[in-house]
Amino acid sequence: MEAKPSTANLVDKIVVPGDVVLDLSSMTNQTIKLGGGLRQECDSVSVIKAGKLRFSKPNKYWVESSQKRYVPCVEDTVLGIVVDCKADNFFVDIRGPTIAFLPVLAFEGGTRRNIPKFEIGSLLYVRVVKANPGMNPELSCTDASGKAAEFGLLKDGYMFETSTGLSRMLLSSPTCPVLEELGKQLSFEIAVGLNGRVWVNAESPSTVVLVSNAIMNSESLSAVQQKIMVDKLLQRIK
């Protein structure tokens, strides 16, 4: 396969496995970071996962696709469900191919004396620390510097599952249109995990139900359509 002359052609376009994205022989003395979905073969970088090719300055490339399955990646923030408690690990289900471990001490100010007690089925907002293929991923309830930073147990509210693409859209900046429109009229709290899990909490159950259904229906809509949908929903409530 011949290498594409310029990568700008393929950025933000749909690529399939086998497409050659970068020709390294033409770029010298540059450091390029490859994210998920790309692989280096000698002098070229080719795609191994179907999706859209993305580029972020200064030098990061990756392939983005929306799936219901989640593949754990380092530094992802996800929502996990506690499955079991062992002596030095909590077993947490993060919707990946294997169960992840959350060390008992991975909390801010965590010592052997104040190990938190989570009941089975609790929902946690955690960060992925290690994610090697074939091994169980490791999680942490602190950020890189050791502070709590909003990680930990999520109380009340309602959780639902969507595809990974939708959760990425919800986390994008500027704020995703659905959330913006909903936020103008309703007040609610939301936690989005990159593994496709979303947690919503609000004062009244009807708000929660409204927000959840609005988000679930907004996956395939464009920005304008999302605004229209939310407007209609809110009008019906009034």
């Binding site: 469900i81 499955v83 077993f91 289900d93 990946g96 191919p97 294997t98 169960i99 009941e119 089925g121 609790s122 929902l123 169980n136 999520l154 109380k155 009340d156 509210g157 309602y158 959780m159 947690w199 009244s204 159950p205 009807s206 929660v208 139900v209 409204l210 959840s212 259904n213």
Partner: protein, 465 residues
């Protein structure tokens, strides 16, 4: 083991609490109100007797097949009905291949009880040779996606496939009339089953708080609820079966309330099923007609080389006309024109398109078997022209009437009419079978069997010619 642990679906504590709190304010997570069903869609496959039902996210396919077998020793005159379920692992991570789980057996049993104990399917009409050969009807239900409330959806799938299933026609022949000849569909139009009524299953979910009750629980609600009950009723208000497998105790008043709600739901769902089946039958008839486009000349000469498929056109007519008139109008549109022309039944109604039948609204009807004469000589061209003139819209499509085709609308009617009509229908069918032997089409076949109800003697004007 690790993958299984990873793939299990889990309910969070948050969801459980939220579903119950929301329900106490009368809100369900998908926005329905507690006594509302999800969107129901019923589709059919190309083959008779295959249906696909979607109730929200729950997706079920049903297939009905028939086989000739020996009857049970203690019931030599009745056919058999059996239900098989298949819980495919793609429907839910907790379903496994191999031995059916408890819920799988329970589902099969509920659907079976609803159909068998209430005698919804007429098994006596499935008898071909008493004591030797009967039809064994087998219903296969495949669960494709578990979105909650499998029982209701499976029941609807079973009913929809039973209503559209057609079994081959059998006749007795050979020496001594003891040999059973099964006619292939090309030779004789296959017959529908006789279904007296439609037992609809309605499932209720109970929650830890006493007054909380929902209809048609979703998968999440099923994980949270503490008790459930399935009531099988039909549109007439008869309770066919009730199933409450363990769980929390329920007050008697709540049960009565559930039954009342269920009867309301049952009539809605019955209507939906019947509409879907009607559409399917119309399409089916259309399909058969399209295959054999033949032209007809208006001066009354008729092309006798009809194929069996044509008659189904009459089915359509009958189905359609049934909607407009109370009595099914078989046959010739000629009948529609004037009450006196009884015998016109045998004329070539093939001249008249479906549309004409619809407005035709035959007020008179061709009498019972006794009064038609299969040996009539043919169309009276003058009469034909007169009727054509009296009609507005005519599509000169050619349709040959085949009496066997007529039986279809007749037999499907029993589901709407009370039981007493059915025995007569079956009796009529038997007598008619006697009349039509073999596949050769002659003018005889043009004669439509009279609708059973109007058997009361019509003036035996008989011949149109």
């Amino acid at each position: 083991m690790d993958t299984r642990l990873a793939n299990t679906w889990r309910l969070t504590v948050n969801e459980k609490r939220f579903i119950e709190t929301a329900l106490s304010s009368g809100i369900r997570i998908d926005g329905r109100n507690p006594f509302e069903y999800r969107k129901l869609s019923i589709k059919f496959g190309r083959e008779d007797g295959s249906s696909e039902v979607q109730l929200g996210q729950t997706h079920i396919m049903g297939f009905v097949t028939g086989q000739l077998v020996q009857p049970y020793r203690d019931r030599p005159n009745e056919g058999t009905l059996s239900i098989f379920t298949e819980f495919s692992p793609m429907a839910d991570p907790s379903f496994e291949t191999g031995r059916p789980s408890e819920s799988a057996v329970e589902l099969g049993r509920i659907v079976d009880r609803g159909l068998r104990e209430s005698r919804a399917v007429d098994t006596e009409s499935l008898c071909v040779l008493a004591g030797k050969l009967v039809w064994a009807i087998r219903i296969d239900l495949h669960i494709l996606d578990n979105g909650g409330n499998l029982v209701d959806a499976a029941n609807i799938a079973a009913l929809a496939s039973l209503l559209t299933f057609r079994r081959p026609e059998c006749s007795l022949g050979g020496e001594d009339d003891l040999e059973v000849i099964v006619h292939p569909p090309e030779e004789r139009e296959p017959l529908p089953l006789i279904i007296h009524h439609l037992p609809i299953a309605v499932t209720f979910g109970f929650f830890s708080s006493e007054s909380l009750l929902v209809i048609d629980p979703t998968h999440h609600e099923e994980a949270v609820m503490v008790g459930k009950m399935t009531a099988t009723l039909n549109a007439n208000g008869d309770v066919c079966a009730i199933q409450k497998p363990g769980g929390e105790g329920v007050l008697q008043s709540v049960i009565m309330q559930c039954l009342r709600l269920a009867s309301r739901m049952a009539s809605d769902i019955t209507k939906k099923i019947k509409d879907a089946v009607e559409t399917y039958n119309t399409e089916r008839a259309l399909r058969k007609i399209k295959r054999h486009p033949t032209s007809i000349t208006l001066d009354g000469s008729v092309n006798l080389k009809e194929k069996l498929n044509e008659p189904s056109g009459h089915n359509v007519v009958n189905e359609l006309s049934r909607k407009h008139l109370e009595k099914p109008r078989l046959a010739s549109a000629e009948n529609a024109s004037s009450p006196g022309n009884n015998g016109e039944g045998e004329s070539k109604s093939s001249n008249f398109g479906r549309s004409s039948r619809r407005d035709g609204a035959t007020s008179n009807f061709v009498g019972g078997a006794a009064s038609w004469d299969p040996y009539s000589r043919g169309v009276d061209s003058d009469f034909l022209k007169a009727s054509l003139a009296s009609r507005g819209t005519l599509t000169p499509k050619k349709k040959q009437q085949d009496p066997t085709g007529e039986r279809k609308p007749n037999e499907s009617k029993p589901e709407e009419s009370p039981g007493d009509v059915i025995p007569t229908t079956s009796a009529m069918d038997v007598s008619e079978t006697g009349v039509h032997k073999g596949g050769e089409k002659t003018l005889k076949d043009a004669v439509k069997p009279k609708h059973k109800r109007k058997k009361k003697a019509f003036s035996s004007t008989a011949d149109a010619s």
